[in-house]
Amino acid sequence: MRAWTLILWSIAAVVAAPVAVVLAYLVIPAGDVWAHLAATVLPGYIANSLVLMFGVGAGTLVLGVGCAWFVTMTQFPGRRFFEWALIMPLAVPAYVVAFTYTGLLEYSGPVQSLLRDLFGWQSRAEYWFPQIRSLPGAVTMMTLVFYPYVYMLTRAAFLEQSVSVLEAARTLGRSAGSTFYSVALPLARPSIAAGLALALMETLNDFGTVQFFAVDTFVTGIYRTWMGLGEPGVAAQLGSVLMLFILALILLERFSRKGKMTHAVGAYRSIPRYPLSRPAAAGVFMLCAVPVFFGFILPVTAMIVWTVQTLDFVDTRFFSMAATSLYLSGITALVAVAAALLLAYGHRLRPGGLNAAAVRLASMGYAVPGAVIALGIMIPFAALDNVVDDFARRYFDYSIGLLLTGTWTALIFAYVVRFLAVSFNTVESSMAKVTASMDGASRTLGMSPSKTLLRVYTPIMRPSILTAAVLVFVDVMKELPATFMMRPFGLQTLAIRSYELASDGLLRESSSSSLAIVAAGIIPVIILSTMIAGSRPGSRKEKKTTDAMECEHDA
């Protein structure tokens, strides 16, 4: 049993080290730079970040929870299509959607050109058109691609709910709507909160979109302080503040969850869906169609057209970049999920205040902007590398180079630090499904803790484990700032190429790289979608699920 505490703390210590480095900057006095920031730009950063957060939070909740409920519990035309299609925008990075809509809606884009042709306008001064590069624009872009976090986790929660509970509510005279509000929603709350937390952390950490849209948030401020003012220490301090703010949000969520009922009963059968009236079905169809169309179909179509128009940007290097992206993402997903499982299980075996703190510490990286994590890793790693290399030079008269920062190791470490929370949140909220009695049964029958993890937990949690893996996978595919700072020589990912071209104003030329990110991201998203549908215990899709899972392993 002691071994589990050790595992728990080892993972936590390794993963929290960069966060600790960043936090250490808090105690270093910054002097007048803080005063300057507070007097000039900081209030704007905070205000914009908050507006962004509330906007995206509200948007993702409505779209995510709403669509999850209707798709799971009601019957309407296209329902089976939306079941998986609603996840698709997850494969599109926020900055890619931002590039695409800017390309579509800017002055020389097809929409405004068409309007000018139709009405004979000559100049922008003659008509009003919404400014896509704005705070509302950023809220819209992020809502369109972040709502699947809420949708996926909420839907998984709805699917895992015992139908008997819902039927009990119906028997006791509750309407469909009332069942939703008073039974299904409270039961799904931990998952909804986890999904919302993911969406909000993505929002607060986003750099590509807000930078491109000229919206000053905390994160662009961090970059600006570091890049422009040349104050990495102050930037790390801003990062610490942001991190503490997010931590406070998480604690608030956890605190408010206390005393709420969680549900785990063994009686399942397939869900009888509520039939919808014709107008209601049309409304629901629209609700689900809007995010799928604007979050996926339209931008992807535009990217396809532009890719065809700029085909010379697709060459053999392209495929090597794609392979690099896939490889990095796959390895990170593997490591992050394994670490999350060990963490969550270790914490379950050895609960307690101290261990809980270790777990929290280990999953804090997601609250830290990628570039600040990179800073927190580069400084100690480079020092370590230099010590090792100096040692080698002195005693062997041979330079072994930079083992950590010169290879993929540091980069993958940064990804794991950044995204461990993604896998951990998912794994942990699903671990609640395994009741203490299952644990007890397994242990009474002579299974060791590690065997129990492998043979009891893992099968029960399989859908959530895969969800976790895919979430991490797609996140790494899209990741930009940390990759930019930490990648070793010759490492070129699709995300970097896309961003470089777009920030240079070559929006159409960047779409081939963007499209490849999306394409690579789609495959696991589809598999994931099948998983969730088949994840309901007792579902007839069980066989299919196993097949799809084997595909995932092969990939």
């Binding site: 849209f213 000229a214 890049m227 400084i379 083992l403 993929w408 970097i496 071209l501």
Partner: protein, 340 residues
């Protein structure tokens, strides 16, 4: 369980030992010039000299921070930046070493290189004023100072102050006028903004053509790119927008440089110097002019194509080191002026 951990450890160990084996005839380059704008030159270098290269692109300050933390074990041999500000900062941070090369001293004029040979300019560009032909009197906007005039009836577009070119411009205002006057200038300019600073330099020029603003500040080569473009939308922009070389009656137009230096940690100093020399020679200089519409620093190479069409002008003669030392201060003043 144990197998899983073993597997993970093997995977991680595998990466650790995929160490970068540094071949002697390879130059490692950290470059903030984007890959597609420099790779053709580097390929030519490899062909001509037989020296291979490895390229890492990133933003200037990020590369600088990386060089700093990697210390003397950094694999980088050469640092290439697209602005002189980061070269000056790199020299100050101690990550560059002086180079004494007859070729470079011959190819790069004294005012386009560091006094002590820590960095060498490779291409020059000016930050100039663009205006809408149909509604702007170019006489009214002939200087940077005129754009901050409270009586100016034109809306001005410029990108964010996060951009290093604006920081350099602001630094030059400090160098010429002192902090107080420079701050007043920035405040006046902000008052004349037609919109929140956004987009890149090309976007500013396009916005003038689109009618969102009347006047814009942007680097010179972006106009050249538009002139070279065969897209009708770009041609329309060139038809609608003209340029002014600023401050021709007094100090001249503000200049910036792309350039390179050899890192302190360089293990292949010879190859690194060869590369910078190669970039200063005529064929590479002609590439800068032809492909990116910049001004060659090598006086033996004439500007070509679109660059030539844009005309002759007087550049600001103040030494760039004397301007760039104000960069960080410039950003603080822009913050205070509300230039986002």
């Amino acid at each position: 369980m144990k197998h899983a951990i073993m597997f993970l450890m093997i995977v991680l160990a595998g990466f650790a030992f995929l160490s970068v084996a540094v071949a002697a005839d390879t130059v490692n380059i950290y470059s903030s010039r984007q890959e597609h704008l420099i790779k053709p030159l580097l390929d030519e270098f490899r062909e001509e000299t037989g020296i291979d290269y490895r390229l890492l692109t990133g933003q200037g300050p990020a590369l600088l921070e990386r060089l700093r933390s990697e210390g003397r074990n950094s694999p980088a041999d050469v640092l290439i930046t697209v602005d002189v500000g980061n070269l000056v900062a790199a020299k100050q941070a101690g990550v560059l070493q002086p180079v004494d090369s007859d070729v470079l001293n011959r190819n790069v004029p004294a005012h386009y290189r560091d006094d002590e040979g820590y960095w060498y300019g490779l291409s020059a560009r000016s930050r100039i004023i663009y205006y809408a032909r149909d509604r702007v009197d170019p006489e009214r906007i002939a200087t940077y100072e005129s754009l901050a005039d409270a009586a100016l009836e034109y809306g001005v577009c410029v990108r964010s102050s996060s951009n290093i070119y604006n920081q350099s411009l602001m630094a030059s205002m400090i160098a010429h006028h002192g902090e107080e006057k420079a701050l007043e200038w920035a405040q006046g300019l902000v008052d004349n903004f037609a919109r929140r600073p956004q987009d890149n330099d090309t976007g500013q020029i396009r916005a003038v053509a689109a009618g969102e603003c009347d006047v814009a500040i942007a680097n010179s080569y972006y106009y050249g790119r538009l002139m070279d473009s065969d897209r009708s939308a770009d041609q329309q922009v060139v038809e609608r927008v003209a340029l002014v070389w600023p401050n021709q009656e007094d100090r001249g137009a503000h200049m910036n440089l792309s350039g390179a230096g050899v890192t302190t940690s360089a293990s292949n100093i010879e190859g690194a110097v060869r590369l910078i020399e190669f970039l200063s020679e005529q064929s590479a200089q002609a590439f800068y002019a032809a492909e990116n519409n910049e001004y060659p620093v090598n006086p033996a190479v004439e500007p070509t194509g679109a660059v030539r069409e844009m005309g002759e002008f007087t550049p600001d003669g103040l030494n760039l080191s004397d301007i760039e030392k104000y960069n960080a201060r410039a950003l603080q003043l822009m913050d205070r002026a509300g230039w986002r």
